[in-house]
């Protein structure tokens, strides 16, 4: 089994596992980083959404062999560190609006929201309802209304 070295939440890690094992299982089953959730395994529900080098991606659909030693993975657990605070502004907005019901999809929702806001800000805009409409993250409790409010609130503080 080849060793794979990369950074997760600012910490260098090395795991020995076959190249084709998807990163989600490396994070969850081997590194015990449980913030990214399994919801479908085929990149459609987005519950595992995390960041690679600051951009959103879905580790359920990336073989660990594709991760380079210089890659930096950020999961929900490492999000506050990216702003040097106890909580990221998006997490604070989520708490303020009491967004979660069961909570299972929320780490992915937050990671997707942070990526979306960064993207529209980089393009010189601010997040709109149309932008939010295109977020693919599933929520079976139906918290979409509060997520929409929280994204706008969190964006204002990012």
């Amino acid at each position: 089994m080849p060793p794979h070295t990369f950074k997760v939440n600012g910490r260098p890690v090395t795991v020995e596992v076959e190249d084709d094992v998807r990163l989600l299982w490396v994070l969850r089953d081997l590194l015990k980083i449980n913030g990214p959730k399994y919801g479908c395994g085929i990149n459609v529900c987005k519950a595992c959404t995390s960041h690679i080098n600051g951009r959103a991606f879905n580790p359920c659909s990336v073989p660990v062999g594709q991760i380079k030693p210089t890659d930096e993975i950020t999961t929900i657990e490492g999000l506050p560190d990216t702003v040097g605070a106890d909580l990221h502004p998006m997490q604070e907005a989520w708490i303020d609006r009491d967004v979660p019901q069961c909570g299972y999809c929320q780490p992915g929702q937050i990671m997707a929201a942070v990526d979306l806001v960064k993207k529209v800000k980089a393009e010189g805009g601010s997040v709109t309802d149309d932008d939010i409409d295109e977020i693919r993250n599933m929520c079976a409790c139906g918290t979409y209304g509060r997520i929409r409010e929280a994204i706008k609130q969190g964006a204002a503080n990012m």
Partner: protein, 809 residues
């Protein structure tokens, strides 16, 4: 007036511990036997049944004051996002004078001695714990005050509690932490207490954030698969290609066992109804990672035997439902007789309603509702460690006592040898009333003698999971001038499996129900839940079903029959209003029988701006619904204009969109308005799915859907940009249920709005179901869709996503 007194127990323990019977005879006043008129559900509904079936229980739930002054309570309920732990903490904090954050509520393991008192369903949790939890908290507070009286040198009656301290009139105080041991009891004995009057509430009725909100948004909240159980390696299952199929032989066992990471491959029974149902089987794989489980499952070469329904498809089921539907028999001037095996429940005498009316016109319609999934985001999960004659299980069961008993049965153990822990669940919606996954895990662990961490793949949930049964609802309404003479609704459904949830409770209460001996279990549930909130003349409701309870894997799905029954009914109410030239909202207001329901309707009319000018293709729909001791009115606006319905988001089901939602809800005494609103919001999202997008297609013995995206639950692009939930002021001194209340109402309101916007009443749901199968059907053999490898380039849309789908075009 003398305040009511309640009985509880002081329990011998190192710190203060008090106990109370959960909904015991000493707490709840006996209720008179219900009369079967008008609708049974108005006087004796499902929440009554669940409450009554808990009365004989003798054992206690306990509240403990810890040495640090915090309070602990282990609740015998599931917490799956509905907020019951937060609600319980509020009740305790209110009664004791302590901060909500100083109360820790955990979930109890299976406690068989609680009998029916450990199930989470029927929106009954708040209703059932409201008084007992307060009684225990009040007893605890009384003991703390007595202990403090000595220390503070004051009379107990002069003392008050706030912020986790006992205060004297002179201003001195002592914290609970210093009293926890002093107030402890050395012997267990009965004690009497009174409850805080409703008008002194400071916490109840004020919005409270979830107790686990911070853990949830930081990734720290532990779900079953996140628990650290040593050696419990990932395990998944290779299932047959048709429903309830069986393994005939595994042809490459050695090869699969040698795959990377794989530790075990074993054939197991997947019989989900041990001892009474049909049997099925499958092959389980245990490996170092779930990814390696998926690969091994797909590498298995299995010869599969036939399934249970291999010749059935949507079309064959529809034909059988229609054949089983009894002919309508209203209006009729004579007594209503049994017809076609269906026993209609007549709630108003037809003869009286027909007396003196003129020429009667009749409208008839049939509505078809296709299969639905109640899958949660967290898949079906269980950890099992079955070794050395003992079984330890972790699974987010809604009914852990049944889980425990079934596991004992299949393992050949006594229930005492089986421990069932209940971690917090990632959604439930009725799905976790069934123990399928826990049985899978227990069987695998017993067979291989090792702990397992078993998870259903998403494809398993679509194809081997529990479904809301396909059904039809026939409505015949007759009217004369502007008077509705009669309203008959006959519901015919594929059998719902209620055996693990309501079955035992209904049987235990059979003697108390006016009809239980004459009707089947499903008919009983139907009649306990079905309601007609309006005066529609003579009302007759009938329920019939096809197949044995376990032919399909069906189950209780959030809001049971009302997710179909109410939309069919409300669409016909709109048609009646149109035929009479009346405004749909005024028509309902004139005929709504319940004052709370009327107030909810008036509120959405005013706050939702009923009747405002809207462009062509945009319309409002409104309904009101009574259930679970509450009322809810839902007003929605649906936009069916081309610019909306045909908007392109790759891979999305776009189509007509609900733009604006106004909900008014009255649950008697709202405990946590913030959580109550969340339940309404979620119910609306589910209703939107039911009308437009969410269904399973049955073809040749299995469902075509194989994941999310195939199964089209409401997504961000379908969610209404505006949603306003108004919690009505308290209308009573007890809370009602909320978890399911909005689903049927929202489904009906959206359907009515869509009908008005398009000028065409839909009669088949979801509306796009028969139009197309808008996805590439995933393979049945091998059974699991392989994980993609292009995740670094396919964000946000998966590369396999097709064009947008408009179910209404």
């Amino acid at each position: 007036m003398q305040r009511r007194r309640f009985l509880g127990y002081l329990i011998a323990a190192p710190t203060l511990a008090v106990g109370v019977k959960l909904t015991a005879d000493g707490v709840l006043e006996a209720q008179a036997l219900p009369s079967p008129t008008p609708e049974v559900s108005e006087v004796y509904d499902l929440s009554d049944l669940l409450l009554d079936s808990t009365r004989p229980t003798a054992n206690l739930i306990t509240i403990v004051v810890n040495e640090d002054g915090t309070v602990s309570f282990s609740i015998p309920r599931a917490e799956s996002g509905q907020g019951i732990t937060t609600t319980a903490a509020m009740l305790i904090a209110e009664e004791m004078g302590i901060d909500v954050s100083d109360v820790t509520v955990t979930l109890a393991d299976a406690r068989p001695e609680l009998l029916f008192n450990q199930q989470t369903q029927g929106s009954a949790s708040v209703i059932s714990i409201y008084t007992p939890v307060r009684v225990a908290a009040a007893l605890a507070r009384g003991q703390l005050v007595e202990a403090a009286a000595t220390i503070l040198g004051d009379e107990a009656e002069n003392l008050r509690t706030t912020g986790g301290r006992v205060l004297s009139t002179a201003g001195s105080s002592v914290p609970f932490a210093e009293l926890a041991a002093a107030a402890a009891n050395s012997v267990t004995r009965e004690a009497i207490t009174e409850l805080k009057p409703v008008d002194e509430f400071e916490i109840i009725g004020k919005g409270q954030r979830r107790d686990d909100v911070r853990a949830a948004v930081t990734g720290q909240k532990k779900y079953t698969m996140d628990l650290d159980v040593p050696e419990a390696l990932p395990t998944m299952i290779a299932r047959p290609p048709t429903i309830k199929g069986t393994v005939e032989s595994v042809n490459n066992l050695a090869e699969v066992k040698a795959m990377p990471g794989v530790t075990d491959v074993v054939e197991i029974s997947t019989d989900a109804e041990p001892g009474r149902g049909t049997t099925s089987s499958a092959v389980a794989v245990r490996a170092r990672t779930f990814g390696q489980c998926i690969d091994a499952v797909n590498a298995l070469d299995v010869t599969w035997g036939g399934g249970n329904v291999d010749d059935e498809s949507d079309a064959t089921i529809l034909a059988q439902l229609r054949a089983a539907d009894a002919p309508a028999n209203l209006p009729s001037p004579g007594p209503l007789d049994e017809a076609g095996g269906v026993l209609p429940l007549v709630t108003e005498p037809a003869t009286a309603a027909l007396d003196g009316v003129g020429a009667v016109e009749t409208i008839d319609e049939e509505f078809v509702f296709y299969w639905r999934s109640n899958a949660a985001m967290e898949p079906n999960v269980a950890i099992a460690d079955v070794r050395d004659g003992e079984a330890e299980i972790w699974t987010p069961s809604q009914i852990p006592i049944v889980t425990q008993s079934q596991i004992a049965q299949v393992l050949g153990m006594t229930p005492g040898q089986v421990t069932v822990h209940v971690p917090r669940g990632g959604g439930a919606f009725g799905r976790r009333l069934f123990s399928d996954v826990a049985l899978d895990a227990a069987r695998v662990s017993q067979e291989i003698g090792k702990p397992v961490r078993l998870m259903w793949h998403r494809a398993d949930e679509c194809r081997a999971g529990r479904v809301h049964p396909m059904c039809i609802s026939r409505v015949r309404a007759s009217f004369s001038g502007t008077e509705v003479v009669s309203f008959e609704q006959r519901h015919t459904s594929v059998a719902t499996d209620y055996t693990e949830s309501f079955g035992d409770m209904i049987t235990s209460q059979a003697a108390k129900l006016p009809f239980a001996n004459e009707l089947t279990l499903s008919q009983t549930v139907f009649l306990l839940t079905a309601s007609v909130p309006y005066d529609l003349g003579a009302v007759a409701l009938g329920y019939n079903e096809i197949f044995d309870f376990d032919r399909f894997a069906t189950g209780s799905v959030r809001n049971l029959n009302n997710q179909d029954f109410r939309p069919a009914q409300e669409l016909m109410v709109d048609r009646l209003a149109a035929r009479m030239g009346e405004d749909p909202l005024e028509f309902r207001l004139d005929r709504v029988e319940d004052e709370r329901a009327k107030a909810c309707l008036e509120t959405v009319r005013d706050e939702g701006d009923w009747g405002r000018d809207l462009p062509e293709g945009v319309a409002q729909g409104v309904v009101v619904h009574n259930e679970y001791k509450g009322s809810v009115a839902v007003l929605v606006e649906v936009d069916t204009r081309a610019a909306t319905a045909e908007r392109e988001i790759r891979g999305a089901t776009t189509g007509p969109r609900v733009r604006k939602v106004t909900v008014a809800v009255d649950v008697g005494l709202p405990i946590n308005p913030l959580g109550l609103k969340a339940q309404m919001e979620g119910g609306v999202m589910t209703g939107i799915s039911h009308v437009f997008t969410g269904s399973l297609h049955l073809r040749d013995g299995n469902f075509l859907e194989g994941s999310w995206d195939d199964y089209r639950y409401t997504r961000h692009w379908n969610a209404p940009p505006e949603i306003d939930v108004i919690v009505m002021p308290p209308s009573g001194d007890r809370p009602g249920g909320a978890g399911e209340l909005a689903v049927g109402a929202a489904t009906a309101a959206v359907a009515c709005a869509y009908a008005r916007a398009t000028g065409e009443m839909p009669t088949s749901f979801p509306i796009g179901h028969t139009k197309d199968v808008p996805f590439k059907v995933k393979s049945f053999v091998p059974p699991l869709p392989p994980s993609p490898v292009d995740g670094l380039t396919a964000y946000p849309t998966p590369s396999a996503a097709g064009p947008a789908f408009n179910p209404a075009s």
